[in-house]
Structures are given as structure tokens and as C-alpha cells.
């Protein structure tokens, strides 16, 4: 049986800016097909500015001008039924937010109310989502949840500034998962944290997944984190998914030239041989090159790469690549 819980079909989400008569369209998400399975950890990787955060905004239906979904759709499977999010009313979206799908935005650890104790933030949160409850019940719920996730209870009495960055990040994740959402979406939850704290956050995400048996969509450009936690990875480049496969495949046998660069440029301990990064810089999404968007930087570029965007080729079960080198691109659909 199809186990897809979150699906996008030819999704296009563009920033349409009108700046004093000059219009500018940033094609941040372009024809993305994803089929995210229940109970998996799906990683999305790619360079800064390639549209990862925008894709997540579309996934959680948090699309606000200037961002607009201009094509395709996002569907959730709720109780066995496919629901197109564009048909949902604002109230329905609000009801689904957090209880069905939870979103930890980029930099969200800095948005905890600085003048409220963590305890009060929890209480406000519980009250606004579960209706007004008595103080004690709300507090007991928060306590149970924190204990479940292995966080110390004394943080409830702290103000955000008294906690370290890593602890703040873990508090926001704990808050987002309080209502046991089926899908948790995290945007760079470990970026700008140091390695030790990063490991703690990944540990927490694994803990969440183990307890709630839910789906996690994790965006980060740190390939090491993906290697540690993701089941499947989608590599994004210039608004498109260019390769998708199980984590072992992405690291063991990357097929797209961009993925190959990403993997081979990672430094390893005990190996000081010079490593090269991807040459050049990513294209502006407001002014994309024609054909395969990677062609200005690709060492294997051919004439047709400059003319036509390659479609997906299924090189193996659950491993698809959009590159002319690999195949003719006859499989447009997500696995």
C-alpha cells in the first residue's frame, strides 16, 4: 500500500516582487515532486539560497505574499484521505498546524518570548491550542513531555536568555512536538550550533521520532547531520530536486555531478589531501540559466544541457537523478 503522507506534485512557489514598477520573480521552488513516507526521516540538502526554506513554507502551507504557489499542489494524507492544502480554510490550517504538522522555522530558537519564563510560554501554547485548562494540568503535560524527551525540568523556570543556544533550540523542538504531530518539519535546526550541541539536537530529533513514530522532514546543508539521521535525502539545486535516494546511496554512489561535488568536498579526519569545492557560485533564482541550472558549474556539461532541463531518470528503485549524463529523463514522477 502507498505509504505517502506528504506529497507535492510539480510544485512551483515563486516570490513575486513588485518594486516600484519593476517586477522580479524569484523561482525559489520549481517543479518539485516529493513523496514523503510515513515514519521516515527525509533530509533535504543544498547550498544556501537554493530554495530549501521556501519549499518547507509551501509544505506547511505557510505561504504568504510575496511568496505564491503558482503551480502544482501539496497534499497531506489525513486519516487515509488525500487533502489538497490549497482547499483548506485558514481555520482548518490552524487546526492542522502542530497537531498534524509542526514546523520549526529557521532561527526559531531566537523567537522564544524573552520576557516570559519557559513555563509561561508552554502554558500559553497549551491554552491556545487545547483551550483553557487549569494551570496544573497544562504544567503536568509540559513536564511529562520534557521528561519523555530527556530534557531537565528545571529549564521550565528559566528565561530564554539564561539557556544556551542549544538548549533553546531543543526547547523549541519540544514545544513543536508537544501535541504529537504526525509530521515534524525542521529548517536548519542545527546550523550555527556547535558540534556538541548539534549532536544533542539530533539526539532529540531521533528521540522524538522513536517516541511518536512520526515523519520528520529535515533541512540542513550539513551533510554530516544527514548521514547521521536521514533515511532518504533529496538534493536541491536552484529550486529543483536534482537527485533523491536512500542516504546510503547518496553517500555511497552519488550520481548527479552536483551531489558528487557535495560529497567529495567534505573533509575527513586523518586525510589532509587537498579537496576541491564546487567551482563558481549558485545562480540567482531571479535569473536562472537555461537548460540544466547546474550547467555553468558542471564539469561534464554537454550542448543539450544548455538547452533543455533534464527530467528524472530512475537509475535504481528509489534512486532518481535529473541529469543528461545518467539518462533520458523519462520518469517525471516522485518515487
Amino acid at each position: 500500500m502507498d505509504n505517502t503522507i506528504l506529497r507535492t506534485t510539480a510544485l512551483q512557489a515563486f516570490y513575486q516582487l513588485d518594486l516600484y514598477g519593476k517586477s522580479k520573480v524569484v523561482k525559489a521552488v520549481n517543479e518539485v515532486d516529493l513523496a514523503i513516507q510515513a515514519d521516515e526521516i527525509y533530509g533535504i540538502a543544498g547550498e544556501s539560497g537554493c530554495g530549501k526554506s521556501t519549499l518547507l513554507k509551501a509544505l506547511v502551507a505557510a505561504v504568504e505574499p510575496p511568496l505564491r504557489v503558482v503551480g502544482g499542489k501539496v497534499t497531506y494524507r489525513i486519516d487515509g484521505k488525500e487533502v489538497d492544502v490549497s482547499t483548506l480554510s485558514p481555520e482548518q490550517k490552524r487546526a492542522l498546524r502542530l497537531s498534524y504538522i509542526a514546523y520549526v522555522p529557521q532561527g526559531s530558537m531566537s523567537v522564544l518570548n524573552p520576557v516570559a519564563r519557559i513555563r509561561d510560554t508552554y502554558r500559553d501554547f497549551i491554552e491556545s491550542h487545547l483551550g483553557r485548562q487549569r494551570h496544573q494540568e497544562a504544567f503536568a503535560l509540559a513536564q511529562d513531555h520534557l521528561t519523555d524527551l530527556g530534557l531537565p525540568l528545571k529549564i521550565l523556570d528559566a528565561y530564554p536568555h539564561q539557556l544556551s543556544g542549544g538548549m533553546r533550540q531543543r526547547v523549541t523542538i519540544a514545544l513543536a512536538t508537544l501535541l504529537k504531530p504526525r509530521i515534524l518539519i525542521g529548517d536548519e535546526p542545527t546550523t550555527a550550533l556547535d558540534v556538541v550541541v548539534q549532536r544533542g539536537v539530533v539526539q532529540l530529533l531521533k528521540e522524538v521520532q522513536a517516541r511518536l513514530k512520526n515523519t520528520i522532514v529535515l533541512v540542513t546543508h550539513d551533510m554530516g547531520v544527514h548521514a547521521n539521521i536521514a533515511d532518504r535525502i533529496g538534493i536541491m539545486y536552484a529550486g529543483r530536486i536534482v537527485e533523491e535516494a536512500a542516504t546510503e546511496k547518496i553517500f555511497g554512489a552519488p550520481a548527479h555531478p552536483y551531489t558528487q561535488y557535495l560529497i567529495s568536498s567534505l573533509p575527513k579526519f586523518g586525510d589532509k589531501t587537498p579537496r576541491e569545492s564546487v567551482p563558481g557560485s549558485p545562480p540567482s533564482l531571479a535569473n536562472l540559466p537555461g537548460g540544466c541550472p547546474f550547467h555553468p558549474r558542471c564539469p561534464h556539461v554537454q550542448t543539450r544541457c544548455k538547452e533543455k532541463m533534464p527530467g528524472f531518470t530512475q537509475i535504481e528503485k528509489n534512486h532518481r537523478v535529473a541529469c543528461w549524463l545518467v539518462g533520458e529523463g523519462e520518469h517525471g514522477q516522485a518515487a
Partner: protein, 320 residues
């Protein structure tokens, strides 16, 4: 052996909270190290351990509570930033914050040349700027008239390095220069440091928590924890054979891009930085798997073990 920069017994105390509160943390506690000419020296450790504070003091943005900084044999005199910044330049963590988004980037280049009187004519200024941009793989054409938002993070970081090179500094202080650029660009930045060291003889104080790139480019490394240097030596020794329990933890926390080596077991994190800063004995005792009675009461001494400087009771006489 000549030393380009020597930091001796550097201490910085911050008073937390209001003027009245008694709470003081020693963000940098009696730290000493030196950097040789044409060397990349790493200062590593988790966030909030005093790395940036050390860098800010070296750059003159903050005054030390105690300690001295000697640059090419000259001691730092108070408020004498000019001779100082000509020889020591810096690049920062956030490439998008390094330049004012409302000003063309090239302005900083011309201002640097004008303020340090390094060019006698506009043509010469452009030549000099172009030369420095070439050192980082760009050219003046790429830059002319453009604003920061027209560049990618990696480009901005390289532009930032080129600006720092304008005064021909002997040392570049780089505070977490790669923590906000992604993996593929990281390598282009650290490769650039290598090139600067090998071709121009520039030293780099590379502040980071990314030990993998530190291993890749650095010659020596100091591991900092809550204001103390807990281990210092060559990268080979310190990172391939970590001795201090904290270095071991750091080393084990690096996510390896290899699906067969996933993290095993759980780690403990500090609840708050302050608790650890205010600890009496070894500041790592709260998380150290080897913590002993004495660790909790008296700070450990610094000892030399096979050429590596370690600050832990496990290696001092009566216990090892």
C-alpha cells in the same frame, strides 16, 4: 623561534545582569598562546567558551581585564588601533553582515586604502584592489558598483578576505568564518587560508567549532572550554589522539559524512553556560565521565604530555 602574536595571561571578566548584581563570569581565564609567522592556528570549542571574546580583545574591540598582547615584539598600547589593524585584520562569521547592505561593497576597499594611505591615485587603488581580489579568485570587475545582496555568501566571504588583505596584514583573525556558509563553500574558504599561508606567508587565527576543517588546514590548535585552554598542540596530536575528556567529546561529536559511522550512545549537554562558568574546580566536571573528587574542588594544573599541553587531573602526576 619568533612569534608573530603572543597572548599572555589574558583575562576578561564580564559582569552579568544589572550594575548591582554580583554575578561575574570569567569569559577568558588566564589564557596564553602564540601564533608563528605563516601558520594557521585554530581556536576551537563550543559556543560561549570565550573564543570570540579573545578575538575581540586581540582586535581591540574590547579591553582585557588583565594580560598582555604582543604583536611582532610590540606590546599593545591602549587605544592605538591603527598600527594594530594594519598588521592584524579580521573577517567575520556572517558574510551578509560583514558589509552594510545599503552601500556598494567596493566603498570599503577604497576607504581602507584611503584611511591607511596605501594608494596615491585612483588608478593605483583599483590596481591594488584588483590584485587582492585576484588572490581570492575574483576581480575588480566582479565587484564594481555592486551591493552585498548581489553576491552569494561564499563570494562575500572571499570579498571580505580580500578587503582584509589590502593592508598586507601578517595575521588575519577569522571568527567562525565558515559556520554560516554551507559545506561546499566551506572548502573554498579554508583552501584560501591555505593558499594565503603558503603563498603570501599570512598567519590565520582560525576560530571554529568545525574540527574537520581545522584538521584539514591548521598547523596547531587550542581547545577552549569555558574560558580555559584545556588542550593545545599540533592538530595531528590533538585531534587524532585527543587526551582531554572534553576534546574527546568534541571529536566524537563531529558528524562524519559516512553512513556507517553514525553516532552511538547519548551525550550530556550543559543546561546553562553560567553554571559551568561558575564551577569551582574543573569546569568540565559536570559532564566529564572521568570526574573525580578533586576535580570538583580545585582547578586542574596545566601539564605537558608528549608535546601537548593538557589541563586535566588525568594527566598530572599523582593520578596518571
Amino acid at each position: 623561534m619568533d612569534k608573530l602574536l603572543e597572548v599572555e595571561n589574558l583575562t576578561k571578566v564580564f559582569a552579568l545582569g544589572s550594575v548591582l548584581s554580583k554575578l561575574r563570569i570569567t569569559a577568558v581565564d588566564n589564557v596564553s598562546f602564540f601564533i608563528k609567522p605563516a601558520e594557521i592556528f585554530a581556536l576551537a570549542g563550543e559556543s560561549g567558551c570565550g573564543k570570540s571574546t579573545t578575538a575581540r580583545i586581540i582586535l581591540g574591540f574590547e579591553h582585557a581585564t588583565a594580560g598582555t598582547i604582543t604583536h611582532s615584539g610590540k606590546k599593545e598600547a591602549k587605544n592605538e588601533r591603527v598600527w594594530f589593524t594594519e598588521g592584524i585584520q579580521a573577517i567575520f562569521q556572517d558574510p551578509f553582515g560583514t558589509f552594510n547592505p545599503l552601500r556598494p561593497v567596493e566603498r570599503y576597499f577604497f576607504e581602507t586604502l584611503r584611511n591607511y594611505k596605501l594608494a596615491s591615485s585612483p588608478a593605483e587603488a583599483v590596481r591594488r584592489i584588483d590584485a587582492k581580489l585576484h588572490a581570492v579568485g575574483l576581480s575588480y570587475e566582479d565587484l564594481a558598483g555592486k551591493y552585498p545582496s548581489e553576491f552569494s555568501g561564499g563570494q562575500l566571504q572571499r570579498i571580505s578576505i580580500a578587503r582584509a588583505l589590502l593592508t598586507d596584514p601578517q595575521l588575519i583573525v577569522a571568527d567562525e568564518p565558515v559556520s554560516m556558509v554551507d559545506a561546499s563553500l566551506r572548502m573554498s574558504i579554508v583552501n584560501l587560508f591555505k593558499k594565503l599561508r603558503d603563498e603570501l606567508g599570512v598567519s590565520v587565527l582560525y576560530i571554529t567549532h568545525d574540527l574537520a576543517t581545522a584538521y584539514y588546514v591548521c598547523d596547531r590548535i587550542a581547545i577552549m572550554f569555558r574560558g580555559d585552554i584545556v588542550e593545545m598542540g599540533t592538530v595531528e596530536e590533538v585531534l587524532m589522539n585527543p587526551r582531554h575528556p572534553y576534546t574527546q567529546l568534541l571529536r566524537a561529536s563531529i558528524p562524519e559524512a559516512d553512513t556507517t559511522h553514525r553516532w552511538q550512545g547519548e551525550i550530556r549537554l550543559a543546561d546553562t553556560e553560567q553554571d559551568e562558568y561558575l564551577r569551582q574546580g574543573c569546569r568540565f566536571a559536570g559532564r566529564c565521565p572521568h570526574a573525580m573528587e578533586i576535580c570538583r574542588s580545585t582547578p586542574p594544573p596545566t601539564v605537558q604530555v608528549e608535546g601537548v599541553q593538557v589541563r586535566c587531573y588525568l594527566y598530572s602526576e599523582p593520578f596518571s
